[in-house]
Amino acid sequence: MVGKKRLSFLVSVLVIFTFLLTGCSSAQAKASSKRKVYKIGISQIVEHSALDAARKGFIDALASKGFKDKDNIEIEFQNAQGDMPTAQTIAQNFVSQRKDLILAIATQSAQAAYNATKDIPILITAVTDPVSAGVIKSLDQPGTNVTGTSDAAPIDKQMELLKKLAPNAKKIGIIYNTSEANSEVQVDAAKRIAPEFGLEIVTAGVTTTNDVAQTLDSLLQKVDALYLPTDNTVVSSMPIVAAKTLAKKIPVIGAEGCQVDAGALATEGIDYYKLGFQTGLVAVDVLNGKNPKDIPVTTLKDTELEINTDTAQKLGIEIPQDLMARAKLVKGGGK
C-alpha cells in the first residue's frame, strides 16, 4: 500500500523533526549544569550596517564586563532577514530555550520578543519610539520586562549643522520608507523643528530600495539639501543616494555615521556601536539581577560630528574651522 508507506515515512519525518527541535536544547542544558552560563538570544530584524554595529557594540560591552561568549555566556544570533513572522518564530525559539536575556534590535524584533515573553528580560536597541511601539509604558520607568536604548536622533543638532554647512539652503528634502515606524517619528520631529531654523521640509516616501533612485530624481529637483533619517531602506541604498546627490551638488546630512562613511556630507548624530555598547552595559546590570521594569530607556547623549572630506571637496563646500577641529573626518563613499 502506497498510502501506508507514505504514512510511515511521514511519521519518521515528524519523529526526526521533534528530535531535532528538542535535542539541541537538552544539549545546552547539560552545558549549563556545570556552572552558570547565561544564555543570550539576539534577534535582529534585518541586516544592515547600523544594526550590525549596534549588535557588535552590545557584545563588546558584555565582554568588557567579563561576560565573554562561549565562556560564561552563550550568545545565539538570529536574523529574520526582513520577515516579520520569522521574527515571531525567532522570539518563540528563544523563549522555548529559556534564554536568560533577549536582545531585540529594531522595532519589529522588539515587538515580537515582547509578544513572546513577559518574563525573560528583553533589551532593546535601535527602536526610535518604544512607547508608541507598545513595548514599554514610559521611557523613565518601562514597567515591563523591556528596557534598553532608543536611537532617537537629535534632529535639532542636525538642523543646526545643516545651517552651518549650507547657509543658503531653504528647502530640505527627506526621503524615507513610509512603512518604517522609526522613520515616521523622525520625519514628524523634523517637520516640527524645521520652522525654528527657517527651513521647509519636503518629504518623499519609498517602499523598497528599488524605488529610491526614481524618487530621488524627482525629489532632488525640488530641494537645496537632503536630510536622511535612520531609515533601514535608505541606509541600505546609500550608494545610489550618494551618487545622485553628488551629481546634483546637493549636500546630504545624515542621521548617523554609517551614512557619512557611505558618502553623505556630515552628521551630528549617534554612533550605533556606542548605542549598542550602552545597551550592553544595561544588559550587564540585568544579568546581575536588576529588574528591567525600573531601568529607564536611554538615548545616546553625546553626539559625534562626522564629516566626509571627499564629499565636501566634490560639493565645493568649505568646512568651518571650528567644525573641522572637533569632527571625525572620513573619506570615500560616493563615487
Partner: protein, 296 residues
C-alpha cells in the same frame, strides 16, 4: 508544550487560512493572484485599527474579511471588465493597497499590546486558531460541493461548460477572487492579533508562503487519495512554518536562514519525488499565463 512547536502550529494554522484563500485562485480558478501581498496586511490594518478603537476583535475579523472580499473583487473587476492580465491585475491591487493600508492605520505600525484581542481571553490561542481554521476549511469544503462551488471549479477547469450553462465566467472569477482575498484578509487580521501588531510591511512574500504551502502539501500527500486538497494546503502551511523553525533551530549562521529554509523545503519535496512532478509544476505555471491572453 514547547513554545517553538506550539508557535509552528499557531502560525501554520493562521497562514493555513491564507493558503486556503490562495488555493481558490491558484488551484481552482487557475488564476495567479498577487493581490494577496496587499490583502493580507489589509486585513491586519482593518482589524488593528478597529481593535484600537475598542471594537470587538471578532467583529474586527469580520470587517477584515469584508475588506478582503472587496479588494479581491477589485482585482476581478480589473481582470474581467478592464481586461488586464491576471498577474498585472493582482500587482496593481496590491500596490494600491499599500497606500490604502497606511491610510487605514494612520501610521506604519500599530501595536496591540494593550486592550483585548481574540487571543487575550482565557482560552489558549492554539484552540481559538484551530477552531476558526477548521471551521473555515469545512465551510470551504461544503461550499465547493454546492452548485455555486461546482461552477467555480468549472470556471477554472472548463470555462466552455460554464458558458454553455448560461453563466458568466467573469462573474464567477470575480466571486472566486473576492472569496479568496476575504480569507487572506481574515488570516492577516488573525496574524496581527497573534503577533500583537500590524505593520504595513507584513504582507511582503505572503503569496510565496501561500504557494509554497499548497505545493508542499500537495506533493507530499498526493498519494493519499482520501485527503482533501484543502487539508493538504493546511498541513503544507504548517510544514512550511516548521521548515523555517527547523532552519532557525539548526543554529547555522543567521544570514543563511532563507537559503536553509529553501533547502529544507527542497529536501522535503525531493524525498517525495514520485509524487512530485516537475513537469506538472511547469505546466501549471505556464498554463496560467497562457490563459491570460483571453480573459473572461
Amino acid at each position: 508544550m514547547n513554545e517553538l512547536l506550539l508557535g509552528i502550529f499557531e502560525q501554520g494554522l493562521i497562514y493555513g487560512i491564507m493558503a486556503l484563500g490562495v488555493y481558490i485562485t491558484y488551484k481552482i480558478l487557475d488564476f495567479p493572484d498577487l493581490s494577496v501581498d496587499g490583502t493580507f496586511p489589509l486585513g491586519a490594518a482593518i482589524a488593528a485599527s478597529l481593535i484600537v478603537k475598542g471594537e470587538n476583535p471578532y467583529l474586527a475579523c469580520l470587517a477584515a474579511l469584508t475588506g478582503g472580499l472587496c479588494a479581491g473583487a477589485v482585482t476581478g473587476f480589473l481582470h474581467v471588465n478592464l481586461r488586464i492580465t491576471s498577474l498585472l491585475a493582482g500587482i496593481l491591487t496590491s500596490i494600491g493597497l499599500y497606500s490604502v493600508n497606511l491610510r487605514i492605520m494612520g501610521k506604519s505600525n500599530v501595536p496591540l499590546f494593550t486592550g483585548g484581542n481574540m487571543f487575550s481571553g482565557s482560552l489558549a490561542p492554539i484552540i481559538t486558531i484551530a477552531v476558526i481554521t477548521m471551521a473555515v476549511k469545512i465551510l470551504l469544503d461544503l461550499f465547493l460541493k454546492t452548485r455555486f462551488g461546482f461552477l467555480l471549479i468549472a470556471t477554472g477547469d472548463n470555462p466552455q461548460l460554464v458558458t454553455s450553462l448560461g453563466k458568466s465566467c467573469g462573474v464567477m472569477k470575480i466571486a472566486g477572487l473576492a472569496l479568496s482575498n476575504g480569507l487572506v484578509a481574515l488570516s492577516g487580521a488573525m496574524m496581527a492579533q497573534y503577533q500583537r501588531f500590524s505593520d504595513v510591511g507584513m504582507g511582503t512574500g505572503t503569496v510565496v508562503i501561500g504557494l509554497a504551502s499548497i505545493i508542499l502539501g500537495e506533493s507530499i500527500f498526493k498519494r493519499i487519495s482520501v485527503m482533501r486538497p484543502t487539508t493538504m494546503a493546511l498541513i503544507g502551511a504548517i510544514l512550511y512554518k516548521a521548515s523555517i523553525a527547523l532552519a532557525l533551530k539548526l543554529g547555522l549562521p543567521a544570514n543563511d536562514l532563507k537559503l536553509i529554509t529553501s533547502v529544507i523545503v527542497i529536501a522535503a519535496l525531493a524525498f517525495n519525488q514520485k509524487a512530485f512532478s516537475l513537469k506538472k509544476l511547469i505546466t501549471v505555471g505556464g498554463g496560467s499565463t497562457a490563459s491570460d491572453s483571453q480573459p473572461a
